[in-house]
């Protein structure tokens, strides 16, 4: 009798567990503007515990279709995002737009493959994924483990943006713009015309130390044009939804400090070690994850600017 109860309990437990695995909880999202939803990532390094959910991801619902902007840091997160979409609409997901190719923005892509979904990115995104994709998969297998990483696939875009394109979700137009080298050499922004909402991808960071993986001079040079986009609000790649262009101020200050500190070091003939130790030190208290990212940003900025 006791044995029967135990097996029944075990059976119930197992089936509940199996059911909850089969139907992922929807990702918590906020409706930031009518028909436009965002999940704000946690400001942290990607780990097994957070399933890589460190970037902002979102979706836009038009009259006939849905577009996803970035898929998250794991297929688990991608599936949770999908569940959040399906909890609100059954319209087809026509587009998954990757703002750039870093793992926290693309590792969820496999959750959206099929049903005619088209992956969209900057003209240089396929090349970046070819060069880096395997390195990312190997690195994150070690960091996040096989359970999360075994199902991650590198899914490159098939619809490429050279300059700007408009995509129509059914009386709802998104304007996609490819930028010259800045945060990466393949940054893409998405502007929802209907609500004036700008998904800036990692062209804009708040709270989280900006990450330099493209060109510091290029990034500083696009801030003007970026700031003039007629947005009511911005969804940065990391950090809270914010007013525009006010949201650029912190990042502009950081990049200017980094750039001018590095230039001064180079002018004085200091070696690259000095950059890692001291560039942008004034910004330390203004950002999270500073010690994880700033020294590397400084080295990248130094090795770029020393070519001038």
């Amino acid at each position: 009798m006791a044995l029967r109860v135990c097996s029944l309990a075990a059976f119930v437990f197992l089936s509940t567990w199996t059911v909850s695995r089969a139907q992922p909880q929807g990702l918590e999202v906020s409706e930031v503007a009518p028909g436009l939803f965002v999940h704000q990532g946690v400001t942290a390094l990607m780990t097994a515990e957070n399933a890589g959910a460190t970037a902002n991801v979102g979706f836009v619902v038009g009259e006939s279709a849905v577009a996803v902007i970035d898929s998250g840091g794991s297929v688990r997160e991608g599936r949770q995002l999908l569940a959040a979409i399906r909890a609100r609409t059954d319209k087809p997901i026509r587009y998954v737009i990757n703002t750039h190719g870093h793992p926290d923005h693309v590792f969820g892509n496999a959750a959206f493959v099929g049903n005619g979904t088209v992956f969209v990115g900057h003209r240089n995104l396929p090349r970046a994924l070819v060069a880096r994709g395997q390195f990312y998969l190997d690195a994150f297998h070690r960091i996040m483990g096989g359970q999360l990483m075994d199902e991650v696939r590198i899914i490159p875009p098939t619809l490429l943006v050279d300059d700007t394109i408009a995509i129509d979700l059914g009386r709802r137009s998104l304007t996609l713009k490819a930028w010259p080298a800045a945060h990466t050499d393949h940054d893409l922004s998405v502007f929802d015309e209907q609500t004036g909402t700008l998904f800036a991808g990692d062209l804009v960071f708040l709270v989280h130390t900006p990450v330099l993986d493209g060109s510091i001079r290029g990034w500083l040079s696009v801030l003007g044009e970026l700031g003039r986009l007629p947005a009511q609000r911005v969804i940065p790649g990391h950090g809270p939804v914010s007013g525009w262009p006010a949201a650029l101020a912190d990042q502009r200050r950081y990049l200017e400090a980094l750039s001018s500190d590095v230039r001064a070091l180079i002018a004085r003939g200091e070696p690259i070690t000095a950059a890692a130790n001291s560039a942008a030190a004034s910004e330390r208290s203004r950002w999270q994850l500073f010690d994880d990212y700033n020294a590397r940003n400084a080295t990248a900025a130094f090795s770029e600017i020393e070519w001038e």
Partner: protein, 272 residues
């Protein structure tokens, strides 16, 4: 963003070296140095080099693909011996011999800095060859991981445009004896290690790197470098030497595809 999960990778990296590195005792990490002494130095005896040469590297590297290293001569000016060559060995790297520097006989090079890739937590040895026919060795330890398989820096078009371009720079050194100079040569090159994998084809991007660099003041050799894949993208060599009054600085570099890059610069008179 993903980037400094590379920190966690360092710890994982050490584990993978221990587990993956061939016939070893489970208890001890494999020490490749004795084998390298055989392969690179033909088992020649080595003296303790602490009075002869110093090596400086960060204990924990921020970017495993760009790890600065400085080699400094500790020979005093009245030491009768001269330093002829320095070999830099990164023990745990796939290609441990990172570079061999031959010092010009009349140039009195006393300091060399460059940037290297470090693939695993490792000892790094600097072996100086002196005019007395002896080898002198020092070592340091670096914590870094993945430098040899790391992808190239983020601006691919700019990197391509720089291929073969060189920059020469002289550094002002106030208060230093007039004929001692500090200069730097940089050359744009991806220095592909052959260990970066194309994600689509699953083939390795072929090795393609600067393997030779020669520097002269007029016709007098200052420094010659034999380099491998452990040197970072856009090889950069900074060095202190003694000027012979030359008006021109010349550089010649070769890569593994047989390209020859040549350049010449006018030397500024620093006494201004």
């Amino acid at each position: 963003m993903y980037g400094h999960s590379m920190r966690l990778l360092c710890i994982a990296g050490l584990l993978s070296v221990m587990l993956g590195a061939g016939p070893v005792h489970a208890a001890e990490p494999y020490d490749p140095w004795p084998g390298l002494v055989q392969d690179i130095f033909k088992n020649r005896p080595m003296q303790d080099g602490s009075g002869v040469i110093a090596i400086e590297m960060p204990y924990r590297a921020e970017d495993a693909a760009i790890v600065p290293v400085t080699l400094r001569s500790r020979l005093s000016p009245d030491d009768g011996r001269r330093m002829l060559a320095i070999t830099l060995v990164i023990d745990q790297n796939p290609a441990p011999m990172a570079a061999r520097f031959e010092l010009g006989l009349d140039a009195n090079v006393t300091e060399i800095s460059t940037r290297v890739r470090v693939n695993n937590y490792t000892d790094v040895h600097a072996v100086a060859e002196l005019s007395d026919g002896q080898l002198y060795v020092v070592k340091t330890y670096v914590k870094a991981s993945g430098g040899c398989s790391a992808p190239a820096a983020g601006n691919a078009d700019a990197a391509k445009a720089r291929l073969g371009q060189m920059r020469y720079r002289q550094f002002a050194r106030p208060g230093v004896a007039g004929s001692t100079r500090e200069a730097q040569i940089m050359i744009g090159h991806p220095n592909h290690s052959g260990l970066q994998m194309n994600q689509v084809t699953q083939l390795y991007i072929p090795a393609f790197f600067i393997n030779e660099l020669r520097l002269w003041q007029d016709d007098s050799p200052v420094l010659a470098m034999e380099g491998g894949i452990s040197l970072s993208e856009d090889p950069n060599v900074r060095f202190t030497y003694v000027s012979n009054g030359a008006k021109r600085f010349r550089a010649e570099a070769r890569d593994t595809d047989g390209h020859l890059f040549r350049n010449e610069w006018k030397i500024d008179d620093p006494a201004m």
